[in-house]
Amino acid sequence: MKKTMRLERWLPVALVAGILAVWEWQVSAGRMSALFFPAPSTIAATFARLLTTCVLPANIVATLSRVFVGLALGAIPGLILGLAMGSSSRLRAVFDPLIAALHPLPKIAVLPLIMIIFGIGETSKVVVVAIACFFPMLISTAAGVRQIHPIYFEVAENYGGRLLQVFTRVVLPGSLPLVLSGLRLALNTALLLAIAVELVSAREGLGSMIWFAWETLRTEELYATLATTAALGISFNIVVQYLTAKLVPWQVEREG
């Protein structure tokens, strides 16, 4: 089992490596536009340059700080309201239509309004990120609570559990696997939105780098930034997997 698992670990790496190799070859053979699809080697060189000149690290820090502040502001309320809505059909009846109405509102399109309300500084950017990651967290969490078997609520009630106790000992752990999948969605959404906001209005961050790369049509910088984003996505996933292993030790893992 261990051995085959190791194979599976390497398969995605091999896949990506293969795609990059074909890409490199196609570009060097002149069959792909080097302007829009610069050779992976060029991208790697750019990546290295951006990394060593600290351009990339500084921008990563800027984006990540927006991601995490936004996540804290959005995902925590999303979690709490999701737990509450998942547990109570009353709260669902009240909030569900509001959530449904607010969720699809285009965040970037209302960014000017948000800037008018929250000012032109960091707050607005972080608020947009928070709003965006609030929803997946809430919807996943509420679904997670609803799939908790009712018997566990009965047990808690039977032993005189009060609201808060039921929350922390039944609702939260029972929905935890789905809270974590909501967290995964929320983290990625936060990153997506942080970048989207930066594309529109920020002087630093991965999004502003992407915008800049497009404005100057330096596509190798664009790809280097996209690769950074992908790397952040992978690290987020590793964090969530680690959290899952730590926080959900009771999860039964099927093989195969």
């Binding site: 536009s33 302007l35 008018i116 529109v200 404005e215």
Partner: protein, 319 residues
């Protein structure tokens, strides 16, 4: 056939980048007045939210004509062997007349004399985009006072927010072009401080560019397009804010007639000429700033063949 080179030119279908801006007025007029149709052109307007975003499509031949503001991406694409060229001007900074764009400042700053000269910008908060022409304007302005962009706080915000930020005092100076100049004036919290004509007179703000489809494959259609375009430019220049032009602009920009009448309209050279020197300067600035790799030679980015042809045809027509 009016203005046609060949007697019955084949109908060509062209995709043209469309933004609902005043600087696109000649394109709207050519379409609505049937000048394109006269030239056996069927024009399909393609929307982008910024003209610079259409450059990849132009390089790929997915669109045939790009109208827009000059942008660094255009020069960089050319530097990287993309076969696209500027073929006509589309708006320049006039030295006479009303200001189409410029730096606007909070009214109280102007009235209290805190912003009498460019040097007073130091430490102020300025809304502009450092990697585009508005950043260039600010930098040129500052250079005159031996200041640089580092001496001011640059913020990049959307036009509607500039209105609100001036009111709240969260910015001091904003770059604006019409119709936002009028919006800001109407809202009453900002005034025109330095029109661009005071900073960079004659600067070529807008251009029309062709991609490989018209440069290589169907230059005949490119010529015909230019005839229609310049004909519209001339109508625009000569007639100005006539009812017909107002109607066409209202239709394509979505702005109401009142605003259109009140706003300052951009100026064009009636022969489609561009100010090559201002583009060289702009490029040199960008190279110095590290925004583009290298400046491209004039003949690489500028192809006057089409306007020369069109001017000639229109001359013949007039006679």
């Amino acid at each position: 056939a009016r203005g046609g080179a060949s007697p019955t030119p084949e109908l060509a279908h062209l995709k043209v980048v469309h933004l609902p801006y005043l600087t696109f007025a000649p394109l709207f007029i050519a379409e609505e007045e049937g000048y394109f149709a006269e030239q056996a052109l069927e024009v399909e307007f393609v929307k982008f939210d910024r003209s610079s975003k259409a450059i990849p499509a132009l390089v790929q031949g997915d669109v045939d004509v790009l109208g827009g503001t000059i942008s660094l991406g255009l020069f960089n694409a050319i530097a990287r062997d993309a076969n696209i060229k500027i073929v006509a001007g589309k708006g320049y900074v006039t030295t006479a007349g009303c200001p189409f764009n410029g730096l606007m400042a909070r009214r109280e700053l102007l009235e209290s004399g805190q912003l009498d000269e460019p040097a007073h910008l130091a430490g102020r908060r300025v809304a502009a985009n450092p990697s585009s022409s508005s950043g260039y304007y600010v930098e040129v302005l500052l250079a005159g006072s031996s200041l640089s962009l580092d001496d001011v706080e640059i913020v990049d915000i959307m036009s509607p927010v500039k209105l609100d930020a001036l009111e709240k005092g969260t910015v001091d100076v904003v770059y604006a072009s019409e119709p936002w100049v009028t919006h800001i004036l109407r809202a009453g919290h900002g005034e025109m401080w330095l029109p661009i004509q005071a900073i960079l007179p004659g600067f070529q703000t807008g251009i029309l560019a062709y991609g490989p489809t018209l440069l290589e494959q169907n230059s005949d259609a490119g010529r015909r397009f230019m005839v229609a375009y310049l004909k519209a430019v001339q109508q625009y220049i000569i007639e100005g804010k006539t009812e017909r032009n107002l109607e066409i602009l209202a239709q394509h920009t979505g702005l109401d007639l009142e605003l259109l009448k009140e706003a300052c309209w951009p100026t064009f050279h009636d022969d489609g000429q561009i100010d090559v020197q201002s583009m060289v300067d702009f490029q040199n600035w960008a190279v110095a700033e590290g925004l583009i790799d290298s400046a491209v030679a004039t003949k690489m980015f500028w192809d006057p063949e089409f306007i020369e042809y069109a001017v000639q045809v229109l001359e013949v027509d007039k006679q």
